[in-house]
Symmetry: C2
Subunit: 320 residues, 2 copies
């Protein structure tokens, strides 16, 4: 939840004058989006989200993110669309930050995902992967294997203050994955952060996918591994095989996995669990006094990692 | 900014079934309102604000606050209106908290108030005071003179850690006001917290007043004293007499002040400055680790207090 930068009303009026979307009639900071400042902007013509990109988002990556949303929306994916100003630009500056106006999507994110939600996400993710084909820009995944070692090294000295043995867990897991990380899998543009709070539903149907600010080029099946972690575990930490089956089988109705992807899934899921364990642990160990974001529990992902370490094969994810 | 309590989608659906307002199509936490959790709720019929009352709001006060909004809205004041369920009730429970759905008001609060905004607020406040006449419930002002001594005593031991001499300032000011606090002024229901972020404007016209959760019965002119503090000082701490004149003179076009109110205004303004100095100082000295609210600077109000201490008469507020 976040509004890191506020916007003066006169600054907002000047900013909106660059667009053909009318003038502001309501403007409220939204408690969503950990990385950026987001506002609900209602104008005389429609409702929008105004995003100010804060320092954790590299300005050089914004053309990739905004261009991807344009590309996906043009191919029928229900996602926010950047609004272009009279000069054709979608990206400009406001209150000293890069800023963009994007379309408002209806829907409510599921606080307690069901198997039905998992099915919808599986299908929606595969449609996203297919629709992203042909997108001209590329962005490497900064939070894949090569990005984990610096995080492990930064966290290692204090990791055991969070849980005894956690330092050894992350160091050993990184070594194991570095020795055996799946390569040569089908790649493309992935969302890379498709958690429940980034998916809107209306009447149990997926109505939109938001927050493309971790999107990148990587193995497509890695996106599925992220979603297995984010959608298919219960609050007590148990893996729900019904949800896993729904997620994967509905993905495959659109884009069947290759045998190599199936074989790689347990390792990809370990990697995805390690990625979120590491970023959460880093944020946990580096809390900023007065920050307005409550850090998420890293140990949730240590528990998920243990499940994947024990999983021997694709079948452990609910697929017969 | 605040969302302290989240709401599950199924809980929300069950909650909305008690109303005739359709089902949820969007639901976003709003980064506004320090005391409560607020959500923008869009249903198939309209937009609303859903508020969960957190522990700093006494549940026993909610009928006063909600009833007041009903009373004011029925008399033409542009303010949020509680939505009543099929059972006639506006107050129920959600996610373990007292909760209410209120109407959505258009408008943007002014980040840099102008003299024009001050004029609108003066007139709007007087209309509110007149419209509140006849409201059947009463609520004493817990943050008036009698409420300041416990805050002073709680803050005194650490006050000088914030600024040298601050302890003496608050102790001396409290003693002075206790000896000479204006009594027997005209009373009624006051907003008591009418800061810029609680006032919405459209095209420089006041479009609504929100957040009645400090409203109470007290001297009407005390509300004006709060507004003088909140609206009429520049960011460098200087009092802007043009803004003061607009605020007061436009108030008086609706409800002229009595000679006793005029004479009391400097003391009321000192009291209002002390009240916000004390609550900000208390929050500053009692920061909760991991709280999602950034405490406001108490010293802003120490500076305003000094202005009012030097002000000898009503004329110092811009009125000839």
């Amino acid at each position: 939840m976040a509004v890191y930068t506020d916007v003066g009303d006169e600054d907002l009026d000047r900013f909106l004058a660059a667009y053909d979307i009318g003038s502001a009639v309501a403007f409220k900071g939204i408690a969503e989006g950990v990385e950026n400042s987001n506002f609900l902007l209602e104008t005389t013509s429609d409702r929008f989200i105004l995003t100010l990109y804060e320092k954790r988002v590299a300005e050089g990556d914004l053309p990739f993110f905004l261009g991807l949303m344009d590309h996906l929306a043009a191919r029928g994916v229900q996602c926010p669309t950047p609004i272009h100003g009279r000069d054709g630009q979608a990206l400009r500056h406001l209150a000293g930050r890069p800023a963009a106006v994007i379309s408002f999507l209806k829907g409510v994110w599921p606080r307690r995902p069901t198997a039905r939600h998992c099915a919808e996400i599986g299908r929606g993710m595969a449609l996203l992967h297919v629709a992203a084909e042909g997108f001209a820009l590329t962005r490497p995944n900064a939070l894949s294997l090569a990005g984990w070692r610096p995080l492990v090294e930064a966290c290692l000295p204090q990791a055991d203050s969070v849980a005894r043995g956690l330092g050894a867990t992350i160091a050993n897991e990184l070594a194991a994955l570095e020795a055996d990380w799946p390569r040569d899998l089908p790649t493309g543009v992935i969302h890379a952060d498709l958690f429940p709070d980034n998916a809107f539903f209306l009447d149990d149907n997926l109505s939109g996918i938001i927050d493309f600010y971790f999107a990148c080029n990587d193995a497509l099946a890695y996106d599925l591994a992220v979603a297995l972690n984010a959608w298919c575990f219960e609050q007590d930490g148990a893996f729900n095989a019904t949800k896993g089956r729904q997620l994967i089988s509905q993905y495959e109705t659109v884009r069947p996995l290759t045998p190599a992807e199936r074989a790689a899934l347990p390792r990809l899921a370990r990697g995805a669990a390690l990625r979120f364990l590491l970023t959460r642990l880093y944020d946990w160990l580096n809390q900023v006094p007065g920050a307005m974001v409550k850090p998420k529990d890293p140990l949730e992902y240590a528990q998920k990692l243990r499940f994947h370490q024990a999983a021997g094969s694709f079948r452990d994810y609910g697929i017969d």
